[in-house]
Symmetry: C2
Subunit: 365 residues, 2 copies
């Protein structure tokens, strides 16, 4: 292991001089600096992060809390994009990131303790159960913490604009002529759901549309079964909706399956919209109308804010940062065919011909 001492011996100077040379301090002559730098290069010297961290109290490393309990964490496109954005920005600023852990050789510590133990300078909570003690302790601690899509009084929060997103979506659907719009929302425990639902209701009201209770339903995020069931029930209503908004693009698939099984066409017979803007959602025919969240940007902003909190604690405010999404029109929301879409049609019709892309290649006959 070649250390400062090695270089010092080689160059015939003191360790202090070597350190200062490599750090480009001003009280070392240019000549010496050159000499030191060259031998450092020649010997293949690499600084030791542990020693540096010990001495300076700066580890230049951030922790990511990414609980996998739900089993959906990393494989959820939104979260993994957030993480990617975070990583890229953090790296650009010279920080590296480690997954927050709580096992140390078979013994447990809290997240906070672990973060302290490893000298993390800050933590981003990407995906966690915010009700758990360990998580709240972390947020209430003296460590800089940034939360994603969750607001806590003493942490900076970076959130996707679910209010605006849902409003855009509803207005777009309304603009296409829909008046009977159903919303199958996700679990109510999350802020995300609350925002979206509130925004849905408010926008509907602003547009002068009434929100029938029968049109508001619940299904898990990322699961298709319940979405499918709820879709069936919606289609069986005396006045079925002409458009259904799903918790997210994946849950939408459950509804889509039910719809297609009934021989209904999207969007000619019924329109559907998702949320998230996942890659797959754009691979379908027709492509899904959805709101694409700027997950990368969410992650990047989180990194910037967190590093600001670390580097300039006084001047950086703990605040809420909102990242705008964007409407992806797709083709799954069309103009409602008011007359044709009767209850009977909805329930039993066998369609002739197959749902084709709105503006696509037709079968060549």
């Amino acid at each position: 292991m070649v250390s400062l001492k090695t270089i010092a011996r080689e160059c015939g100077v003191s360790v202090a001089t070597v350190s200062k040379s490599l750090n480009d301090q001003k009280d070392i002559s240019e000549a010496t600096k050159q000499r030191v730098r060259q031998t450092a290069q020649a010997l293949g010297y690499l600084p030791n992060a542990a020693a540096r961290a010990l001495k300076t109290n700066h580890s230049y490393s951030l922790a990511v809390l990414f609980e996998e309990d739900a089993g959906k964490g990393l494989t959820h496109e939104y979260f993994s994009m957030v993480l990617t954005g975070f990583m890229q920005q953090a790296e650009r600023q010279g920080y590296d990131i480690t997954f927050l852990n709580h096992c140390v050789e078979s013994s447990r510590m809290s997240y906070y303790e672990y973060a302290r133990y490893r000298n993390f300078e800050g933590v981003v909570i990407v995906c966690a159960d915010y009700r758990k003690q360990g998580v709240t302790d972390l947020m209430n601690s003296d460590l800089p913490v940034v939360t994603i899509d969750y607001v806590h009084h003493n942490c900076t929060a970076v959130c996707s604009n679910n209010i605006k997103g849902m409003e855009d979506l509803v207005r777009y659907i309304h603009g296409q002529g829909h008046r009977r719009i159903a919303y199958i929302h996700g679990q109510m425990i999350s802020y995300v759901t609350k925002d979206r639902l509130a925004s849905f209701c408010r926008t509907m009201e602003e547009l002068g549309l009434e929100v029938s209770d029968a049109y508001i339903r619940t299904a898990d995020y990322l699961e298709i079964e319940e979405a499918a069931r709820q879709t069936e029930e919606l289609l069986a209503l005396p006045e079925p909706p002409t458009c259904i908004i799903y918790p997210d693009d994946t849950a939408l698939i459950g509804g889509r399956n039910v719809i297609m099984e009934r021989g209904l066409r999207i969007p000619e017979d019924i329109s559907v919209a998702g949320y998230d803007g996942t890659r797959v959602s754009q691979l379908f025919h027709p492509a899904i109308t959805t709101i694409r969240q700027s997950a990368n940007e969410v992650g990047a902003q989180a990194a910037k804010r967190l590093i600001d909190l670390i580097q300039k604690p006084r001047t950086t405010l703990v605040e809420r940062v909102v990242i705008e999404g964007s409407l992806v029109p797709g083709q799954s929301v069309g103009r409602p065919s008011e007359g044709r879409m009767s209850r009977a049609a909805a329930r039993g019709r066998k369609r002739e011909g197959f749902p084709t892309k709105q503006s696509g290649k037709k079968p060549e006959n």
Copy 2:
């Protein structure tokens, strides 16, 4: 910051005694140990990982190389599952994991240098361009390295069994009665593709089926456009295949779109199979026939091997570990309808009725 010194002062013993007490060394009396442990607890003492690493040369942290250049890394379900499995196993054994980086305050270092700088004890290469200098340097270095789905002479490799996987898939398809099987494979640069293609050809031969050149095609992984184009060409052949195997479940969607646009039904008119066993693939109706790779297990094994390499360098062999996948039957491969699937039918037919699940709820009329 409460350190050993604080506790020592408080307990009226030396720092060494405190250290030994907390590490449960045998040359300290039980009474003292108790006293030390209690005050440590009371003062909220936490060890300092940096100091410990500096002294012991053990950082208990592993690096993950996960290049995002392709932009598909973390959002690729397979890789993110591998990563998850790796993380969980590593944590269980007391290691934490950090993304390998090469920026330090705006200056670049190589992966190897960064790994040294940060005192990582080992590296797992989950997703990277193995042809790049930085990556090969890393693999050729003295650091313990485990690669995923890639074999390098002096690294332990953990690979999904693509040979067996493809063989199982082909045999299953053959068992359903198919004789004209096409394979749209991924880019040839990867070992994965080579294994699968070789296995495809060998298995076909073993089954006494000829492999027509026209049935072997190329399309990118995870992209639908090329898969769609190739599907069109396959369907336009004088003798179109009765089953098409795609590079992966996502690329399959491209083909599926083309097939459905033509009014063909899956699997009645044509069968399709994917690879990977992604979550979405099982949400479709019909669910996709595919090979599920045990990505979690791949990750977990990689972690185990890597830690073995670190902890018992002499007794641990550098070898190739193969993880078995499993066939997910799905419903997208059915019995071929030899007579009905003529070229004319394939090209222009409009089907009446909509493709329904093989064994599912029918429209209620």
